[in-house]
Amino acid sequence: MKGTLSIVGFGLSTIGPGTATGLIFAAYINGVARQPEARSILQPIAFLGFALAEALAIFGLVLAFVLK
């Protein structure tokens, strides 16, 4: 079985962003459940947070391919 360690590194690097994305959407769902009319205000904020957290995982992916 062959492979590179950088892919394992990518797997490890997704733990943080994965948890963060879960927390962000949990908070977003909570907010909308408590106050449905705040949905349009919360949505861009939630997606912004999601995008920022997800960027870290994407860096991991790109680096996994760059560092061979």
Partner: protein
């Protein structure tokens, strides 16, 4: 099971980044490669669609006009108006162009016979990001002047003075390096990863289909995964176009805002 796999054919070669490079369809110019031709096609497609949908504009819209207006209304209201605020009107064409361009090029990833998201080549996201980068800096400098812009950027009010030693460089880097880098890399990375995933399951299925009878059964699972992931990818592609435009709008809104 491994001896079954080795019986029929050489070992499986997983897809890699080299699968993203195409030879020119004709001649030797890079202008004839698949990604560039897809970009040109997308521009024609977008222009044709919105010209046709807006040509016979009526108070009671036709289906096509409704579709065109829905996309425009979405960008104008939920990205432009909600995020930028008062001065949103003059940025709507810019945001609308980015959104439709990115969305069309992303969706090429699941359209049969094209099946290549153009944005999985880093050059295309980078060139859109350069526009966004220039626009939000230009807007801020024009409104506040370079000195005030840099001062507001690095020294946000209400922070103890000692913290500025760390905060000022971090904020400066955020505006000038991290924002454009993440903006381009996010779009590129998502499209690249998505396309690679689809490649993996289709190539894997194809490989297993050529293997021994027992392994053939698993090819169905692999192709099933590929189909399921195609739908998942469609969602991601729309979401990334939305996020890219949303972030561009947020950066512009930040440049226009008076204080942090």
């Amino acid at each position: 099971m491994s001896h079954l796999l080795h019986m029929a054919q050489p070992a499986f070669v997983p897809p890699s980044s080299s699968d993203f490079f195409f030879n020119p369809a004709f001649g030797s110019s890079f202008l004839a490669t698949k990604p560039v031709m897809l970009v040109m096609f997308s521009v024609i497609l977008i222009a044709a669609f919105f010209t046709v949908s807006a040509r016979k504009a009526a108070v009671v819209p036709s289906r096509l006009q409704f579709a065109g207006e829905m996309v425009y209304g979405f960008v104008r209201n939920s990205i432009g108006k909600d995020v930028i605020g008062e001065e949103y009107q003059r940025f709507v064409p810019f945001l609308f162009a980015i959104f439709t361009f990115v969305l069309t090029n992303n969706l090429f990833g699941v359209v049969p016979f094209m099946q290549f998201p153009t944005m999985s080549h880093i050059g295309f996201p980078v060139s859109i990001t350069i526009f966004v980068y220039l626009v939000y800096h230009y807007v801020a400098i024009k409104k506040k002047g370079l000195g005030r812009y840099l001062k507001e950027m690095c020294f946000m009010p209400g922070v103890p003075k000692a913290v500025y030693v760390i905060l000022a460089p971090v904020e400066f880097l955020t505006y000038f390096a991290v924002r454009p880098l993440t903006l381009a890399m996010r779009l590129f990375g998502n499209m690249f990863a998505g396309h690679l995933l689809l490649l993996l399951f289709t190539l894997g299925g194809e490989y297993m289909l050529k293997s021994a009878l027992f392994v053939k059964f698993f090819a169905i699972l692999s192709f099933g995964m590929a189909i399921g992931l195609s739908f998942f990818e469609m969602g991601i592609q729309c979401l990334q176009a939305y996020i890219f435009t949303l972030l561009a709008a947020l950066y512009i809104a930040g440049a226009l805002a008076d204080e942090h």
